[in-house]
């Protein structure tokens, strides 16, 4: 068990989620007679869920900081319609359309952030208002009509990596991307081992590193193969690419930068953070604003995929995003959660959705099953905590194992940890 954990890193929860995801994929692969892991279906999965996963990235930061955002679906819809209109009526080129969308997101975010951070109204209320406000704004601006977007704009929602270079029977860019990822995985693992040596900490055994790399590389290779061998004209989808870039960027921000640390600090104990010199209002403002920018981006990707912006785009997205974040291990009380975990949580929901669809399960049953999954996932977490294994260590994908000379825990520590978990 310890070795397994060393291989997968993270805490029990994250560990459990990765396993659940793999188990789900395998289960559906068998049940659908091999229709799950096909090029077409995988592309579908990414195309059809990337906007929810992007929302989950913003949402986990909001939730870590101790807030919530119910308005993301409406903001996505509002940004979508505005972008569609400026491109249709004012002849904005697609790239300016994207800029307009992101700026609009920032503006809306600043509006909501202002109320939350500087007026001190709970985010639940501010964004509940925002949900109504921007849904109305979408329908007002678009007069409840559906507005199509130009062909070039559809690239961000339904595009694929183009074909370049010699025809080897694979999509070359996808191959390149896959190999680059594998190189990055190997480089990262080597670097981590070197760091352990440098600071005098005990690194996990070599075979753990090897197995970990082999597994990861295997998965990446297989995915690369799937995406590179799809129908002609398809390859790795652009929304997936955007999602990947965002996971890396936000994963980095949340774990490696000062602002990221401050988000966790504010959510963990706002008063203590303030007295440590954290400008908590600025943190609140930024996470709310960031969420709206990502919502606008998600809205545009969706519009690109569905070729038009409509009055009911984005309905219920906020709940999907919030569910993904909590399945991914975040705590309702704030201070806990990871970007990677939330995306995995979102993928679990996505695979579930997709697999049930392939099996021909109706929307009614699918909802019931998804509801139960959310409940069970969080119950698992709560149970773990009540067993005195707080799943907080997964905050940062743990790079360190045991270090130094571990002393035996004293009675004090165990008793106190039990006290804490009993509360």
């Amino acid at each position: 068990m310890t070795s397994l954990k060393q291989i997968f890193g993270g805490d029990t929860r994250q560990f459990g989620m990765i396993f659940a995801l793999i188990a789900l994929v395998v289960f559906f692969q068998i049940m659908t007679g091999g229709n799950t892991l096909t090029s077409g279906n995988m592309m579908n999965l990414f195309n059809g869920n990337s906007y929810i996963l992007i929302l989950a990235i913003g949402m986990v930061l909001v939730i870590i900081a101790g807030h919530i955002d119910l308005s993301v679906g409406s903001i996505a819809a509002f940004a979508g319609i505005v972008v569609a209109l400026v491109m249709r009526d004012w002849d904005f080129p697609w790239y300016l359309g994207i800029v307009v969308g992101l700026l609009l997101g920032a503006l809306i975010g600043a509006w909501q952030g202002f109320w939350v951070a500087y007026v001190g109204i709970p985010a639940f209320i501010v964004t509940l208002a925002g949900m109504l406000l921007f849904r109305g704004a979408n329908q007002f601006v678009g007069q409840s009509n559906t507005v199509p977007v130009p062909q070039e704009f559809r690239f961000i929602g339904a595009g694929y990596l183009p074909e370049i270079g010699p025809d080897l029977g694979y999509n070359n860019l996808t191959l390149l991307l896959g190999f680059a990822l594998i190189a990055a995985v190997i480089y990262n693992e080597m670097r981590t081992r070197k760091r352990f040596a440098k600071i005098g900490a005990e690194a996990p055994p070599v075979w753990v590193s090897v197995v970990k790399m082999a597994l990861l590389c295997g998965v990446i290779l297989y995915a690369t193969y799937l995406f590179a061998t799809g129908n002609p004209g398809t390859s790795f989808p652009v929304p997936g690419l955007i999602l990947g870039a965002l996971v890396i960027i936000y994963g980095f921000i949340s774990t490696k930068t000062i602002i990221g640390r401050h988000v966790y600090a504010v959510g963990g104990n706002r008063h203590a953070a303030k007295l440590s010199g954290v400008r908590s209002r600025r943190v609140d403002f930024l996470v709310m604003m960031n969420m709206s920018i990502l919502a606008a981006l998600a809205g545009m990707i969706f519009v690109g995929r569905s070729t038009a912006s409509g009055p009911f785009d984005g309905t219920g997205w906020e709940l999907d995003a919030i569910a993904a974040v909590f399945i991914g291990g975040a705590a309702v009380t704030g201070g806990v959660g990871t970007v990677v975990g939330s995306v995995i949580g979102g993928l679990v929901m996505a695979v579930l959705n997709n697999g049930l669809q392939l099996l021909g399960v109706g929307a009614d049953l699918t909802q019931i099953i998804k509801g139960l999954v959310l409940l069970v996932a969080v119950a698992f977490d709560v149970y773990n905590k009540s067993q005195g294994k707080p799943s907080i260590t997964g905050l940062i994908m743990k790079n360190f194992g045991n270090k130094g000379k571990p002393e035996l825990p004293t009675a004090t520590e165990t008793v106190i940890s039990n006290d804490v978990s009993a509360r």
């Binding site: 966790y264 008063h271 203590a272 010199g277 360190f400 002393e407 520590e413």
Partner: protein
């Protein structure tokens, strides 16, 4: 219920816990602990933090139900097997926890009868509630309206409400966990008097306390627990017990002195606050700091003495980047130059550090691990470009773990798992890493056991030796007298006196802490 058997019990043991052993995964929290409590006595349980006192009380009160521990409990001559707190309460054992379990928004009466409401068919009989409340409040000496919300009365009175609640359940054995930890001197004294009063009415009390002077004053017998084992039971009158005797039992050795030796090297005045006036954050026209002036010299440990609520914390926090109250007037000088500190980040930048009295709710993010906490107030120091350097974080945390001798298997442990003393060391490390010139330590040894206190004093003196100024705010006068080079007294938001090390004693301080300043 006055059977002959019960009458005979009066001067016998009311409670006997025999060979209680309680194990948590990997550790024995209690190892064959036995304790005998006589009926009608006040029995103190002493031990360092983590010795097993609270665990023992949780076993007794049924929080750890029968079956999860080994050993037996005999209460009033019968072996009892409590399943939960309800079953121990119905037997007449009530525990009052250190963190009070009152609902702030509910009234005193509602709190006293919460979960125990006199009712018929689910409809509460409020007349009966109010009548009984008045009677109970009179018994505990609480002068308040029965319908006052608990959040509007002070901690001292809240404690009395807890006791009234216990009395309403016809308690026979009352357990008080650190009852005076959050109380000021006069509230503490009132509580101790009340306990003595209960004793005369035949109610047995078990008290857990770190305040050895109180134990010496009121307890009839003392059981000392160390590392999960019973060490001894002392009878205060017969055995001639004093504080030093208790400490010897608790730490297993005699502490030569409670304060490390220290010869101060005091330099120039470098930090000065003049005419500092601050308004209450919520109540207009109420001042929490009145025209206060003080100065700190390099290498000096300055004590702030005052009763709880005198405005010590308010003064410190308002100086620390106006993190409390409405700033009204006053000046700060550092190294002779005026300084305006409008925010906490500014205060940190200019070399101030403030260690709060309330570690858990204001000082620590209990979700964090040790290394994250250690660097959290000076993240810039380990950030290169955009990236927080995790290696450096680890190295820094390790450095402080070693130099402050924080007891932990690794700096990756969560701070929530540490004992109070070790948590305080982590907090100190966090502020030491900001490399401050002036450290303000608010109750730095609250909730910390004797051995760890000694170490904290050593750290404070070491900081002073490095030429930093240290302000220590404390309610414990012996502590202030033991480590301060100079002491200011504070009363109702104003500084009422300044005494040098040689001139100060408990009596002179107490006078200044309770008397209004002679018109200055």
């Amino acid at each position: 219920m006055k059977s002959p058997g019960r009458m005979r019990m009066e001067h016998h043991k009311i409670l006997e816990m025999r060979s209680i052993t309680k194990e948590f995964p990997g550790v024995k929290a209690l190892d064959q602990v036995s304790i005998t409590v006589e009926a009608g006595e006040i029995h103190a349980i002493c031990g360092e933090n983590g010795a097993g006192k609270s665990t023992l009380m949780k076993v007794l009160s049924g929080l750890y139900p029968h079956g999860t521990y080994d050993g037996s409990i005999i209460f009033q001559g019968e072996e009892v097997e409590f399943k939960d707190i309800r079953s121990s309460e119905s037997a007449g054992i009530v525990i009052i926890h250190q963190e009070l379990a009152l609902i702030p928004e509910l009234s005193i009466a509602e709190n006293i009868f919460l979960g125990n409401e006199p009712a018929r068919n689910g409809v509460i009989n409020w007349d009966s509630v109010n009548a009984q409340t008045l009677e109970l409040m009179a018994r505990v000496g609480l002068r308040e309206e029965a319908n006052t919300a608990v959040k509007d009365i002070g901690v001292g009175k809240q404690q009395l409400v807890e006791i009234a609640k216990a009395l309403s359940k016809s308690v026979k054995l009352l357990i008080l966990d650190e009852p005076t930890a959050a109380l000021n001197e006069s509230d503490s004294q009132h509580l101790l008097d009340l306990m003595a009063g209960l004793r005369s009415k035949g109610i047995t009390c078990i008290m857990i306390s770190h305040k050895l002077n109180e134990i010496e004053q009121i307890a009839d017998s003392i059981t000392i627990i160390r590392d999960g084992k019973t060490i001894e039971t002392l009878h205060v009158k017969n055995d001639g017990v004093d504080e030093d005797r208790i400490i010897r039992g608790m730490v297993g050795r005699s502490l030569e002195s409670r304060f490390p030796d220290h010869t101060p090297t005091i330099g120039e005045t470098f930090f000065e606050v003049r005419n500092w006036t601050v308004g209450h954050p919520a109540v207009a026209d109420r001042l929490v700091c009145k025209n206060s002036s003080f100065k700190v010299r390099r290498g000096e440990i300055v004590g702030f003495a005052g009763l709880m609520g005198a405005g010590r914390t308010e003064l410190a926090r308002s100086v620390f980047g106006r993190s409390y109250g409405n700033f009204m007037s006053g000046e700060i000088f550092k190294d002779g130059k005026p300084l305006t500190l409008k925010s906490v980040p500014q205060a940190i930048k200019h070399g101030l550090a403030y260690v709060t009295e309330d570690r858990k709710s204001l000082g620590l993010n209990l979700l964090d691990d040790i290394k994250t906490t250690t660097v959290s107030a000076a993240l810039k120091k380990i950030t290169h470009g955009l990236v927080v350097d995790n290696d450096e974080e680890f190295v820094v945390a390790e450095k402080y773990r070693k130099s402050l001798r924080t007891k932990t298997p690794s700096v990756n442990e969560g701070v929530a798992k540490l004992s109070g003393g070790n948590q305080q060391k982590v907090v100190l490390a966090k502020w030491m890493f900001t490399d401050p010139d002036l450290l303000i330590l608010d109750e730095p040894t609250r909730g910390i056991d004797v051995g760890a206190k000694y170490e904290i004093y050593g750290i404070i003196q070491e900081l002073a030796n490095q030429g930093k100024g240290v302000i220590v705010i404390s309610s414990e006068l012996p502590e202030l007298l033991g480590i301060s080079d100079r002491i200011y007294t504070i009363f109702e938001g104003a500084i009422t006196g300044e005494l040098a090390r040689g001139e100060a004693d408990q009596e002179s301080l107490m006078k200044l802490m309770t008397a209004r300043r002679k018109t200055a």
